[in-house]
Homo-oligomer: 347 residues x 2
């Protein structure tokens, strides 16, 4: 009964090399064959309860963990994992997205693996590379890259890719985005219909395509209403709630402050809410992106159902796998939800 054919059990660094324990060790400790041990641990039928118990006990005692690579290799079943790469795991926008993705994947027996690029291009590249290397069955990517040409190799290496929330540039790839133009237009049109003429735009980083689209739609909507565009009422590059708050305060301090403010994403909206806190008569406010507290606070927002966005993304991925069509970009509608703040008249 030589269980230990190797004495160097000491160098077992944490997750270092998956522990040099093998099924054989467990089998020996339990006094059964290697295959029986496999069956017992794998939950297969046709193992006596007593035997199974003995094997499990042995495994637990030894601290044995199955080598999933070997297991998968042998059974030929890949892990079927789809990677979702977002910019910030803590942003509610991405969380809603993740919810939709997770549910949709689960329906198809696929597993979700998530990673955050922290809005960093290098990190994004590393994560995508890793996913490709691990042979993910697909990648859903909210890219921070300006140009997606370099992502071509992902598809070339057989991993389907769907860009989410950001339309592809320099690459013919599938994408699922929000209808930013319709959403923004609805918000601005609402202001105009209520008589607003000084409508401010406060946006996040210009380099983000959705931000560019929303800004362009804002300008177009004003033009369509015959309103001039006042550069003093346009703020771009507010990437944090704090920056946005300061920007909105500046707007309020203008000689001719805006009577309505459109904030181009959830973070900016939060900044505006903070800026409005001590203001007796705040301007009307509509923010892009719905958020949980909007209801409780009475903040009107326009946005897409982020879970829908996720579901659409998964759907696009599945269809891409079938490979029946050319890459396409589909848009998820953005709807305006009035909750009070957006309906305030000019004063």
């Amino acid at each position: 009964m030589t269980t230990d054919d190797a004495g160097e059990r000491t160098d077992v660094r944490a997750w270092g090399d998956g522990r040099r324990l093998t099924l054989a060790d467990v089998a020996a400790a339990a006094g059964v064959s290697i295959k029986t041990a496999s069956r017992a641990l794998g939950g297969e039928p046709n193992v006596a309860d007593a035997t199974r118990g003995r094997v499990r006990a042995a495994a637990a005692t030894l601290g044995f963990t199955m080598n999933s690579a070997a297991s998968q290799l042998r059974r030929g079943t890949a892990v079927r994992t789809v990677g979702l790469v977002v910019g910030d795991l803590a942003n509610p926008f991405y969380m809603g997205l993740a919810t939709g993705v997770e549910h949709a994947l689960r329906e198809h027996g696929l597993q979700l693996t998530m990673a955050s690029s922290d809005e960093d291009a290098a990190a994004e590249r590393a994560i995508v590379e890793d996913l490709v290397h691990r042979r993910a069955d697909g990648i859903l990517l909210v890219s921070t890259l300006d140009d997606h040409a370099e992502l071509r190799s992902v598809g070339d290496r057989g991993v389907p890719l769907v860009l989410v929330d950001r339309a592809p540039s320099g690459l013919d790839a599938d994408a699922v985005v929000i209808d930013n133009v319709a959403g923004t237009t609805a918000a601005i049109a609402g202001f105009v219909a209520r008589g607003h003429r000084r409508i401010a735009f406060v946006g996040d980083l210009e380099r983000l395509p959705p931000q560019r689209e929303r800004h362009a739609a804002y300008a177009a909507a004003l033009a369509a209403s015959g309103l001039p565009i006042d550069a003093a009422l346009v703020v771009r590059g507010a990437h944090s709630a704090a920056t946005a708050e300061a920007a909105v305060r500046d707007l309020l301090a203008l000689d001719e402050p805006p009577t309505a403010v459109f904030t181009a994403n959830n973070r900016v909206t939060i900044g505006a809410i903070a800026a409005f806190r001590d203001v007796a008569h705040p301007p009307a406010l509509v923010g892009f992106d719905h958020f949980e507290l909007a209801d409780a606070l009475g903040i009107s927002t326009v946005g897409a159902d982020t879970a829908d966005l996720g579901r659409e993304a998964v759907d696009a991925l599945l269809r891409r796998r079938e490979g029946e069509h050319a890459p396409a970009t589909r848009a998820v509608p953005a709807t305006l939800v009035p909750r009070g703040s957006g309906e305030r008249p000019p004063r």
Copy 2:
């Protein structure tokens, strides 16, 4: 050169079985040995550029992707995927947790796979079973189960388990929880110090251990201050923001309304904020769990750094893998952040 020893290559359904192409096929197509193909694709040195190009072209043409299971098996590095099972992907509490987990795992070269049980026991069981079956390298679980005895088999089958945010019951397992007692006590003590004597408690479902702990700590804190417990000021089971809002409105409508309210989690806090909206002089408010808009709204909260919670959970998992200690529960501190709402005096 019989590359094909099997003719049934046709049943390769979309996501079916990860393509039966092997390195051998690529090598044959490129006219090199299997090892050279491996070197070329793997980015190893000592391959003529021309050869490397030829191999890559062949791989791209055939649509070959490396079988990572085989690769990892041979080189000894396991897949290293950790599953995080939460109750609701869209809840900011879990998102913060996920952030901490993801970062900590990434530092250790581990991959995060996430799933939501939607607070459903059956779903939770299915997900955990799935994770064990797929031989995850560890499971971080925010369990909705009342009794965790059934989870024993997870560890027995060699998958390390760490319970998060809920202490184990009926099972000797590792756990990482929030110091609910200290947090709640600090909140109540703050109220008492400011002269409040009618302090309400509004909590979520009683069956959730953290809720029970917070309620018990509330009662203990009142007792310690020599204050009586008024059953009319205690609401439990408010599982949605809407329910909580209604409950808080009821409290405000009492003959002797509370002068301070303690809300036992983020959802309940949101309900309270909504209930306070039209109230001229709302009671003082401290909520358990920090949330993004707390700053902007001036809502005092007490809570843990959820990212810390995630990091601790990963740490516990790693140590468990080392198997050097007995399972233990560790608590992450909860700190009180005054932002105005909690500092209002009684009136």
